[in-house]
C-alpha cells in the first residue's frame, strides 16, 4: 500500500476500500493528531477529533475533486472538527489586539525550564491562528499554498502570520536564553 500514489489511494477510498482507508489513516493520523493537539491542548479530545476526521473522510470521500490535495483536505476536515470542539467549550478567543500571544506565561516560570520546554510553552502561548500555521509548516512541512487551503486564509496572510509568530518566538526565546 506504500507504493500507491495519493490519487490512487483516494480512488480506492472512493470505491469503498477499507484497506485504502486504513493506509490513509496510518499515513496521516499521527500528523492530524499532533496538529489537533496543538489546537485543542487536550490529548483525549485530539484523539476523538482524529477518529471523527477519518469517519468523515470515509463518508465524504466521493466529494473530493481530483485536483484537491488529499492531505490538505484531511487537515481541513480535522481543523473544522477541532474548531467545533473549541467552540463547544468556548475556548477559542476571537479578540485581535495586534499581539501574537494569547497569554503571557510568568517570566519566572519559564526561566527555570529547559530550552525545549520553553519553546513548547511559547508555542502554546501563541494565539491559535498563529500557532496553527507554524505547526502545519514545521510538523507537516506544508507549503504556504497548502496551509492556506487548510486554514481558509490567503497565502500572504499565511506568510505574514508565520513571519510574525517566528519573530516573536525568537525574541522571547532570546530574552530567556540570555539569563
Amino acid at each position: 500500500m506504500d507504493s500507491i500514489s495519493e490519487r490512487e489511494l483516494v480512488q480506492r477510498i472512493q470505491h469503498g476500500s477499507q484497506d485504502a482507508l486504513s493506509a490513509a489513516y496510518e499515513q496521516y493520523s499521527d500528523g492530524v493528531f499532533a496538529y489537533c493537539l496543538r489546537i485543542l491542548a487536550d490529548r483525549q479530545l485530539a484523539e476523538d477529533v482524529v477518529q471523527d476526521t477519518f469517519l468523515k473522510v470515509r463518508h465524504y470521500a466521493a466529494s473530493l475533486q481530483q485536483d484537491d490535495s488529499f492531505r490538505s483536505w484531511i487537515f481541513r476536515i480535522a481543523r473544522n472538527e477541532a474548531l467545533m470542539q473549541l467552540r463547544k467549550r468556548r475556548l477559542d478567543s476571537q479578540l485581535d489586539d495586534g499581539s501574537v500571544w494569547s497569554e503571557e506565561t510568568p517570566h519566572e516560570q519559564l526561566v527555570a525550564l529547559e530550552r525545549s520546554e520553553i519553546v513548547n510553552r511559547l508555542l502554546e502561548s501563541l494565539k491559535r491562528e498563529y500557532r496553527e500555521v507554524l505547526v502545519l509548516l514545521v510538523y507537516e512541512n506544508m507549503s504556504y499554498a497548502e496551509i492556506a487551503t487548510v486554514t481558509g486564509i490567503t497565502e500572504s496572510s499565511v506568510k505574514s502570520r508565520i513571519f510574525r509568530a517566528r519573530k516573536a518566538m525568537i525574541e522571547k526565546l532570546g530574552s530567556y536564553m540570555k539569563e
Binding site: Y25, A34, R58, S116, L123, L134, Y139, S143, R166
Partner: protein, 136 residues
Amino acid sequence: MNHEHYEQLVSQFMDRELDSRSENELFLHLSTCDNCRRLLRASWQLQTDILQGKPKRQIEATRPSAVRLPAQVYPLWVTRISIPLPAAASIVFLLIIGSLLFSPMILQGEMPRPETKIEQTLPIPPDLQKALQLYK
C-alpha cells in the same frame, strides 16, 4: 530597502518559499549583515526545537496495525439478529412444510391408526373389534 524586508526574506527562505532571484538578494545581504545571519541561525534553531517538541501519540504501542477506525455501521437487524433470524426462519419453514405434508393425510384418514399396531401385537377382544369396525 528597510531591514524588515530582509527579515521576511529570511523567513521565506526558511520555509522554502523564496524564488532564486530573492534568494540571491538575501545571500548578498547576509554577507554584510550580522543581525540577519543571527536571525537565520535562530530561525533554524527554533524550527528544530519546535519539531523536537512534536507531540507523540501515547497509544502508538497498543494501537493495532489494522486501524482504530470505528467499525462500519450496519443496521440493527444485521448486527443484533443476524444469527437468530435464519434459525427462526428455518424453524418456521419446517413447520409450514410439515403442516402442509401431514394435514391432508390426517384429514383424509391416511395416518396410521392405532388398531394396526394393536392387531399386530395384542389379541383384540371381539367387542373391541366391533367398535373398531365402526371407525373404518
